[in-house]
């Protein structure tokens, strides 16, 4: 059963990418709907299988590492696979209605979309460093292509900037991989860990790790390397922005986190961990502040991504040199943050897209007084904002709670201030948007209500993000499932 599931999971995106490449937008849309259904069902099935039986290692095509591709199907990975399926399906669905079929270049949306999906799955499941690289590159190239779909000079400028950053990041990562391989002679993360634990290898050097983290941080848009993100996310089509913010940046972070958790204990150090933490904190503060200052709605959301990504990097200090329990708590917190941010940010971008469509302008001021039309999307936007603020009962809150606990337990109380201040700052920019919508006495009396399904999608995502906090326990229990040996 699981074999079929795995096959379906890996095969569908690539196959659909090729399929959709050959047809126009409308046909691609139909084809994609089917593919998305398959993908979501397969992901659900895999998740259920892992949740009941535990994780396993999967050798693609039966070939052994290092030349074969070894996939690590554990609880965390399937959770992200499922998350990807949900968010991507939502964005794809939204895009299929949102995008104008009349523009010829929109037909390329579908293949890019599917390549992106394939790359994401590869990253979540990838077990060795080089395959992760390939996955990353697949994601980056597809993502750049999606950004460029905007078609205007501005979109292209943002896309090229994004591409350059992504390529540089990838290369830094690849150099690190090369150095690691030179040192340990293996590419499997598990193998490297094993070698280090057994003490066979001479104690490793920090440099390759730093190099890889640097590259990944660039791709994740960690402060101060975030410059490429807001233009790219801000200018892309809303479903694309949603995909980028929700999933793409998480892929590189996911790799960084895996590296850190496996190798950081040996190769990292207190100073490095704290440095990354500080950068993350600065990202939270600075990103939120900039988000507060933006005049365009989608820029607000984009800068909010910069800030939210900052939270993720608190993983590094909170897992270095602490007890197992605290580390677990921090990991759980970060995982929840990844998921809830993915859901909330996707909801936010989609809702922002709807709002822009409704009021015919992308400026925050243009929202003045629209709340009297009861825009459904504004409500979704607000709900997603609640999660970003880290207020209960959202997933964002559960994440923040766990991080708070971890920082308290590890004695690193200074992150508390960051976490709390970050919540307040995000409240500032979310409420700025909200506040505008309540202004009366404007001459806005035209309000275009987008179609129902466009409005429902962000609402579903926002509600999921909201509900995540309530069901955090079961979700987390699946995540922490280890994979049992090398079974198929």
């Amino acid at each position: 059963m699981t074999l079929w599931l795995m096959a379906g999971l890996l095969f569908t995106p690539l196959a659909w990418a090729v399929l959709t490449l050959m047809v126009d937008f409308r046909k691609g849309r139909l084809v994609t709907w089917l593919g998305m259904a398959v993908q979501v069902l397969v992901s659900l099935g895999l998740w259920a299988a892992v949740a009941s039986d535990g994780g396993f290692l999967y050798l693609l095509g039966g070939w052994q590492a290092p030349l074969g591709i070894e996939l690590r199907v554990d609880g965390l990975a399937v959770t992200f696979v499922l998350l990807t399926a949900l968010v991507a399906a939502a964005c794809g669905w939204h895009a299929s209605i949102y995008l104008d079929p009349g523009k010829p270049w929109h037909r390329y949306f579908w293949p890019l979309f599917w390549f992106l999906w394939a790359g994401l799955n590869a990253v979540w499941l990838g077990g060795d460093l080089f395959n992760l690289y390939v996955g990353l590159e697949l994601i980056s190239l597809a993502a750049v292509g999606l950004v460029a779909l905007g078609g205007q000079a501005d979109a292209l400028r943002a896309a090229i900037r994004y591409l350059m950053a992504a390529l540089l990041g990838s290369l830094a990562y690849l150099l690190g991989v090369a150095l690691i391989y030179g040192q340990f002679g293996t590419l499997s993360l598990a193998g490297v860990t094993e070698l280090m634990n057994s003490g066979d290898a001479q104690s490793g050097q920090t440099f390759p790790l730093v190099l890889m983290l640097l590259g990944l941080a660039l791709k994740t848009a960690l402060f101060p390397m975030h410059g490429w993100l807001p233009p790219a996310h801000g200018i892309a089509k809303s479903p694309v922005s949603a995909l980028l913010s929700a999933l793409v940046v998480k892929a590189s972070f996911y790799i960084a986190a895996r590296l850190w958790l496996d190798l950081g204990g040996e190769l990292g150090g207190f100073a490095l961990a704290q440095l990354i933490g500080v950068l993350g904190s600065l990202a939270i503060i600075w990103g939120s502040w900039l988000a507060f200052r933006q005049t365009k709605l989608k820029q607000v959301v984009a800068y909010s991504s910069v800030a939210q990504i900052g939270y993720l990097f608190l993983l590094f200090p909170l897992t270095w040199g602490v007890t197992e329990a605290i580390s677990l708590q921090a990991q759980q917190g970060i995982t929840l943050q990844v998921i809830s941010h993915a859901l909330a940010k996707a909801a936010m971008f989609l809702a922002a897209g709807n709002l822009i469509m409704s009021v015919g302008s992308n400026r925050v001021d243009a929202l003045a007084g629209v709340s009297r039309f009861l825009p459904f999307s504004l409500f979704s936007f607000g709900l997603a904002g609640v999660s970003l603020m880290g207020l209960p009962p959202t997933g964002g809150f559960a994440a923040k709670w766990l991080l708070l606990q971890a920082s308290l337990a590890s004695g690193q109380w200074w992150w508390l201030a960051v976490l709390l201040a970050g919540g307040l700052l995000s409240a500032a920019y979310v409420f700025r948007v909200y506040r505008a919508s309540f202004i009366e006495s404007t001459d806005t009396d035209q309000f275009y209500h987008p179609s129902r399904s466009l409005e429902v999608i962000p609402m579903i995502l926002a509600l999921m993000s909201l509900g995540l906090g309530l069901v955090a326990e079961p979700v987390l229990s699946v995540m922490s499932l280890p994979f049992e040996g090398g079974g198929q």
Binding site: P392, L408, A409, A421, F438, E440, G469, L476
Partner: protein
């Protein structure tokens, strides 16, 4: 899933579902909206009533599940939660009736009632929360759901008030979260429990526990409008009258006060808090707030603003009552939770009536309003006397019980505070009453509206009359079973275990 699990969930769900439905309704569905609103409110009263009956007879209602590892989501109905739940269920119905009348012909009603229900759902959640974490959850939800109500009018003033409200409350929430997280880190997940947890705590923890207590009081004090965190409250009175009524009487300030009660009683334990010397400081803050709020109220010319400062002062009675760490004082504090709610909501209803019917907002425009609107004015008079603490109204019961409690534990200065506050209350309420009843109307009303034979719309008139009656009954029949006082006694008997 037995009934005992489902009851608190149902009680929460009635208004939550109502809110969802109301959001979905089209703006024009006036009648349907009113029906849904009232049906939900009545259903909630029934549910809460059943639970009150059950709790009085020793039944337990609890629903719990784990949310985040190590943290539970607990809804529980105990005597204390029923005090608050009963209050909010009852006043929700009245406020809804009032709001229907108040917002007649005004825009954005769908939005208003949706958030209104959400706000009540949060309040109900706060009442039923079984541990700090759940409490915090609804506490923040309340912040968010009241914001749209505060800025409902959408004027610059309202938006500014809303901004300040959000800044204050979210910051308070952050501080509270910090404290809760710290406490959780120190001792784990704490359900609210009779007598608290720290009666025989390791002395080495005293330091952190003290700091946590202070932080919690700051976090909760923002909503309870303790000085110096009261700044948002007088501004928030720009909201429509039903919102002010709800904000001041039931939801927001009470949530803060209720949280303080929970923390002091059921986390720290009254004795432990006293032993650690925490209550002394709190009582001083509360006393200062009482005096400060009353003094500021004296100088307000806007009726609702005066009432708002009066709230600042009155809510601290609840806090002060707790600090008296004796049974009587505690009863006084608890009972004031209800009494203040009924009295203040009456006053705000009346203020809303004056504004809506006569267009009167300032106190000096009220001359002779008693003749034009006798029903409203009678309710206002009763409310004002209740606030002053004149017997046999509800406020007197509070003051009497608290005064007796203060003497019981030798904190005589509290009596002085009560007396001074009553004098100040009299000083700012009695002139209004004089204007209502004895001054001759000199100028025409600013914006008078006529409702035929009645002095104002029946939707607006009945709620204050009912609350005023309740207030009189709460005082007159204080010793009857299920009166607020008796219920507070029951709580003290059962929970505080002094």
């Amino acid at each position: 899933m037995t009934l005992s699990v489902l009851m608190p969930v149902f009680a929460l769900m009635t208004s939550l579902l109502a809110s969802v439905i109301l959001f979905a309704l089209p703006e024009k569905g006036y009648r349907l909206r009113t029906i849904i609103n009232l049906a939900a409110a009545i259903l909630k009263i029934a549910l809460v009533g059943v639970m009150i009956w059950g709790v009085a007879h020793g039944r337990e209602y609890e629903a719990a599940f784990t949310m985040v590892p190590g943290v539970e989501f607990v809804l529980r109905a105990d005597a204390l939660s029923m005090l608050f739940a009963g209050l909010s269920a009852l006043l929700w119905l009245l406020t809804t009736i009032y709001a229907v009348g108040y917002l007649e012909d005004s825009p954005n009603r769908s939005r208003f009632f949706g958030f209104f229900s959400l706000c009540v759902a949060s309040t109900m959640g706060i009442a039923l929360a079984g541990n700090l974490f759940t409490f915090f959850l609804f506490y923040e939800m309340l912040t968010l759901s009241t914001y749209p109500l505060v800025v409902h009018r959408g004027t610059t003033k309202a938006l500014r008030a809303g901004r300040n409200y959000i800044i204050y409350t979210l910051t308070g929430g952050a501080v509270l979260l910090f404290a809760i997280a710290w406490l959780h880190g120190l001792v784990g997940d704490l359900r609210f429990q009779e007598g608290g947890y720290f009666s025989d705590v390791d002395p080495s923890l005293n330091g952190p526990l003290t700091i946590i207590f202070v932080l919690m009081m700051v976090g909760l004090g923002v909503k309870a409008a303790l000085v110096p965190f009261h700044g948002w409250l007088p501004q928030a009175m720009v909201a429509p009258a039903p919102v002010s009524a709800l904000l001041h009487a039931v939801a927001v300030v009470k949530a803060g006060a209720f949280g303080i009660i929970r923390v002091v009683f059921e986390i720290y334990g009254l004795e432990a808090a006293e032993a650690m010397g925490l209550l002394a400081g709190l009582s001083v803050v509360a006393a200062l707030t009482i005096i400060y709020g009353s003094t500021r109220a004296l100088y307000q010319v806007d009726l609702k603003r005066r009432l708002a400062f009066s709230t600042v002062s009155q809510v601290s009675y609840i806090v002060l009552g707790l600090c008296l760490f004796g049974p009587l004082g505690v009863i006084g504090g608890l009972v004031h939770l209800v009494h203040q709610g009924i009295m203040k909501i009456t006053l705000f209803f009346c203020a809303g009536n004056y504004a809506e019917t006569l267009g009167v907002h300032r106190i000096d425009e009220l001359d002779g309003a008693g003749k034009r609107m006798p029903g409203t004015s009678v309710a206002f008079t009763l409310g004002a006397f209740g606030m002053i603490g004149a017997p046999p109204l509800a406020g007197f019961i509070t003051k009497w019980t608290m005064g007796a409690g203060a003497l019981e534990v030798g904190m005589d200065w509290v009596v002085a505070v009560l007396v001074i506050s009553s004098l100040l209350n009299a000083a700012y309420f009695l002139p209004i009453l004089h204007r209502l009843w004895f001054a001759e109307q000199c100028e025409p009303w600013p914006h008078e509206r006529r409702w035929g034979r009645l002095e104002t719309s029946a939707w607006l008139l009945w709620p204050p009359l009912i609350t005023a009656t309740l207030m009189v009954l709460a005082g007159l029949l204080a010793n009857v079973p299920f009166s607020p006082l008796s219920w507070a006694e029951l709580i003290v008997l059962r929970e505080v275990a002094l």
